[in-house]
Every structure is written in C-alpha cells, then in structure tokens.
Symmetry: C2
Subunit: 226 residues, 2 copies
C-alpha cells in the first residue's frame, strides 16, 4: 500500500473503492483531514465471534494516525487483537428536502477508516496519543488540566489506527429534482441546515468557588462544533 502523505490523494484499496454514490466520493486527502479535524466522536465498528458492534467513542487524529481508547472495545479487541475495524466519523450538515420523497436525502461529510488497530504501549507515544485525543475535543486542555500520572497512563488502553486506508463521502447542495417533471409541483424544495454549537460552560456543583472557566473553554460558547 502506498504511503499517503498530506499532499497525495488517498490510496484506493479494494475496500475503499466507491461502489455507490460515486459522485459523492472524494479522494482528496484534505477532505479526510478536514472531516477528522472537525469532530471528536467516531463510531468504531468491530466484529468478534460473528457479532458486529458499533460503539461511539472519542478519538484524536494527528494527520497520519487516529488514536482511540482501547477500553471501549475491550471485550472485542482483547479477544481478537488483530481484528480489522472500521472507524467512521460523520458530520450531518442538513436535510435535503426534494419535491418527491424519493429524492430526499442528507447533506453530510463522512470518513471511514479501515485497519487493524495497534495497541500503544510505549509511555511516550501513549502520552502523545492521549494529548492528541484530549486536544481534539478541547484544544488547550492538555496544558490546563492535570496530566495523567504514570499509574493512570498504565491503566489507559490506547489504540492507534493508520489513516492509510480511508474513504470519504460528502454530499452538499440542493435537491436533485429541480430539473425533473416534479419541479412543476407546488412543493417547496431546498435544504434545512443543521447547526452544532457549543453552549455555556456549566460549572461542577462541587467546584471550588472563585475558579472561572478559562478562555479556551469559555470562548467556545456560540461557536460551531463541526
């Protein structure tokens, strides 16, 4: 498999060749990076003993590797450490409301990453992976909160997944039936955008009085979360 540097298109492997919705596939590395950078929750799919499980979990991406907690998939990944997984990150941008039900759809950006996760054991890489994961959800938090102790690091199961085998699908824009016979119907058509944004920080009721939310948390209020 060819290496996938940031300025090269995603390699096409057997798994990631687009079979459906060809027009929505993207082979741009930048699209993959942007989708991964815009989120912090993925859906991890793993199969053990014939049972497929899809588990939501936090992730971090450094552009070449995706890190996630091993614990979320402990049962599966401990019993089948070499199992192939699929990690999917999806951002829903809105509803596509066409004249006909048949043409309805969703505007979205989605990335699928396939591979065999590698357990991260070296303390330095484990700390770096946890930093990546922490900063993905809350930029600035790694330098603000108490970092993991050696004991906590040891108690954390972290997995690393290469981004080499990845697939991106994107849909944008209005419905597709604007030039069909249905366009003559007296039916509104367009998109209904979906916005995801950060709210106002809610202090822990047990928080020592006088400690204010730092800017890297407080200043997110009202900003887009995708």
């Amino acid at each position: 498999m060819a290496p996938s540097a940031p300025d090269r298109p995603l390699p096409q492997t057997q798994r990631t060749r687009h079979r459906r919705l060809r027009e929505q596939g993207s082979l741009e590395r930048a699209d993959l990076d942007a989708i991964l950078a815009a989120g912090f929750i993925c859906h991890l799919g793993v199969t053990v003993d014939g049972t497929t499980m899809v588990v939501p979990t936090v992730y971090g991406s450094d552009g070449t590797t995706l890190y996630f907690h091993g614990s979320v998939a402990s049962r599966s990944l401990v019993s089948s450490p070499a199992a192939t997984v699929c990690v999917t990150v999806t951002h829903v941008d809105g509803l596509v409301l066409a004249r006909s039900v048949f043409e309805h759809g969703v505007n979205y950006r989605s990335a699928m990453v396939f591979g065999t996760p590698r357990p991260v054991t070296a303390p330095d890489e484990k700390a770096e992976g946890l930093r990546c994961l922490t900063e993905q959800a809350t930029p600035g938090q790694w330098d603000y909160a108490r970092r993991p102790s050696r004991k906590e690091l040891a108690a954390t199961a972290l997995l690393a997944l290469s981004l080499d085998d990845a697939s991106v699908k994107i849909r944008t824009g209005p419905p597709d039936d604007g030039e069909s016979p249905d366009a003559a119907l007296n039916v509104w058509a367009g998109t209904l955008p979906l916005h995801t944004s950060w709210g106002t920080p809610e202090p822990d009721p047990l928080l020592t009085s006088g400690i204010a939310a730092p800017p890297h948390i407080a200043d997110r209020t009202g900003t887009s979360a995708q």
Copy 2:
C-alpha cells in the same frame, strides 16, 4: 427471546448485557424510545467477508421496528442477507471537563440495536416504512411532498430491524473527580454543552418563485434537533 412491549424493561440478551460502565447502562424501554425518537441518523455496522463497515444512514423507528435503506449496505446485505448487524444511534450532549485529563469524558445518549434485518417487500409495508423514515427526519413531509410511485417503491430497498435486542447507555452530569484529591487543584471543572439546532431553510436555486417553505419546515428554525 422475550417480547419487549413499551412498558417492559428491555430484555437482557447475551449481547446486550453491559460489560463496562455499568452505571451508564439503562434497561428502560422509555430511554431507548426517546433516543431513537430524537434522531434520524444511525451508524449501521455490518461485516462481510471479514471486513466490518460502519455506514451512516437515515432511519425511522415506529417503536417496535427500525427501518433503514437497504441500498446503503447493498454490497454487504445482498451478499450476506442473513448477516447480523448493529445499528447505533448517538446523541452527544457535551464534554465532561474534569480536573484531570484521566477523568475527562462525554455526556451522551446512545442506543445499539442488534439483529438480522428483514427485507421489506410487501408494497404496503414498504410504503409504511418509508413514511416512518421520512417522518422521522421531517415530521409533516410525508403528507406534503410527492409520495413514491409504484416504480419508485419497487426501486427502493428497505430493511426492517426488530428492536427486541437493544442496549442503551447514557452519561449525564458533572465530572466524577469533585471529591477526589484533584478537587483541591486550581482547575475549572464542569461540562461544556453541545447544542444541535435547525437553521434557516435554504430554497433550491431552481425553486419556482412564490413557493414558501411550509410551516412544518420553516417553524423548525432555531429549535433543538436532538
């Protein structure tokens, strides 16, 4: 497997017994129903020939059955029609920002449904399933847009999945380290809520002038989407 009527707890099967995070599991049927009712996008996990895929797709739930398009999983489900799948619906409610990185987490509501999807072939049930799916994303749209023709119905692959084997996990509330030694640190702790809401309808550029967005679409602007 015991039937799962709305007023009974979810049946505990081998697959859905909570192995981790026991305190976050819910056996309340009402929690499952509420999570499914609050969304319209699921992540469908299916494994074929040893490869697990996790695909985002729209769904509809009528309280006992979950409907989704067969086309999203055409390759997999056509080649393995009896495959067991896992459908996961997740709502992310916010970040849990603790004093220590180790205690960070996410407030969320998630439902996993396991089973073997059944292809829906009878035209009446197919229409009912598509109605369910359409109304899940956009209540009022089934009676407003042009409904599927017989030809369109025939061209739509629809799958039905029983809700009998389902699992729910929920996390709410502040971080867990408010009574730990870390509470003495000068570090803010609490939650940062994530809000998902509908934006302003954007008309199709090809829309015939004079057609306004109907209330069931226009009135959603600014309302919560979860």
